[in-house]
Subunit: 192 residues, 2 copies
């Protein structure tokens, strides 16, 4: 197989991410969101919001990470953030998925993509921290727009949201968390 | 409105691109593709295939162009490449859409995004030419995978494909066109 043969096999396999459904809906609530369009949306979020980071970021690397980060879900599925799952088993499934899916690419490119995915998962560099925070920030925006979405489906309270999600957004994007938190609090207050 | 208010209003409006349907299906033929997941897919195409360009490219700028390029379809709709449409009227609708949609952003960012969209549409810089070619290359890949897709729906012949689409792929990505052309020719030959 030529490099192009391998690369197009990878890109055709990637198409399957469009059929992986998430726990959130579109903003209008009309249907569940899939992981491919979610990946596009958060790349756009990062492009628009990178200026609010605490440090100068390599936006190109963030975009690459966000475009790639969910491909493992083709094999491992989406794990809803408020769902119950065995974190260790999930990490093993996702790592095996990364081996298989990035392994479709020519070896040098497979290594480079795997390194970007590992960087995202490790959540240590400023780019990964910002990317992770953006990935956590878009679903509450969808829920605010659709009138609750996955918060209602998973019986989420403000306390659960602030405990489980807040620190993850605040970690890489504190200014964005400061904008979001009162809006989410107002949503839950209006429901009480 | 603060910058974040404006930016999140833009990002929420962008969600509507997930409901704009294209003329191509997913690779498995299960449903029509939408413009948001298409935008993700071609950004991934560009990331994987940029090495086959004739010149050194600014991949970050290509990714930005591809993430933005279809947002005008929220107002103007998708114009299938083999469909009939008034090119001048479509260009006017898309330009008005770009004014409205990018105009949701803070002014400096609206200008920067509009400049990227104008660069893509003008198809003159190496980055825009490569991005345009990639945007034209993904639908035939979907059609090859799904068994014909929009080629069948629009009664497309190999001659029509080579006349209308070939030059657009060859313009920015001749090595990729050289890979694709015989595969598309073989598909049409097998149907005769």
């Amino acid at each position: 197989m030529s490099r192009l043969d391998q690369q197009l096999a990878f890109l055709t396999e990637a198409d399957r991410l469009k059929s992986v459904l998430r726990a959130t809906t579109l903003c209008d609530g009309s249907r569940m969101e899939n992981s491919a369009e979610h990946s596009w949306h958060i790349a756009l979020y990062a492009l628009v919001l990178a200026e609010h980071s605490e440090t100068d970021l390599d936006t190109g690397r963030i975009l690459k990470m966000l475009l790639l980060h969910d491909l493992v879900e083709i094999d491992a599925g989406d794990a809803p953030v408020f769902g119950d799952h065995d974190a260790e088993a999930l990490a093993a499934r996702e790592s095996a998925a990364a081996d298989r899916i990035f392994g479709l690419l020519p070896e040098d490119q497979a290594r480079a993509f795997r390194a970007l995915w590992d960087e995202f998962e490790a959540n240590e560099t400023p780019e990964a921290q910002f990317a992770k925070s953006i990935d956590r920030m878009q679903p509450p925006m969808q829920n605010l727009a659709s009138g609750g979405g996955s918060w209602i489906d998973y019986n989420v309270t403000l306390d659960m949201f602030e405990t489980r999600i807040g620190p993850k957004i605040n970690n890489g994007a504190p200014r964005i968390w400061a904008w979001l938190q009162p809006r989410v609090a107002a949503f839950f207050a209006a429901r009480d």
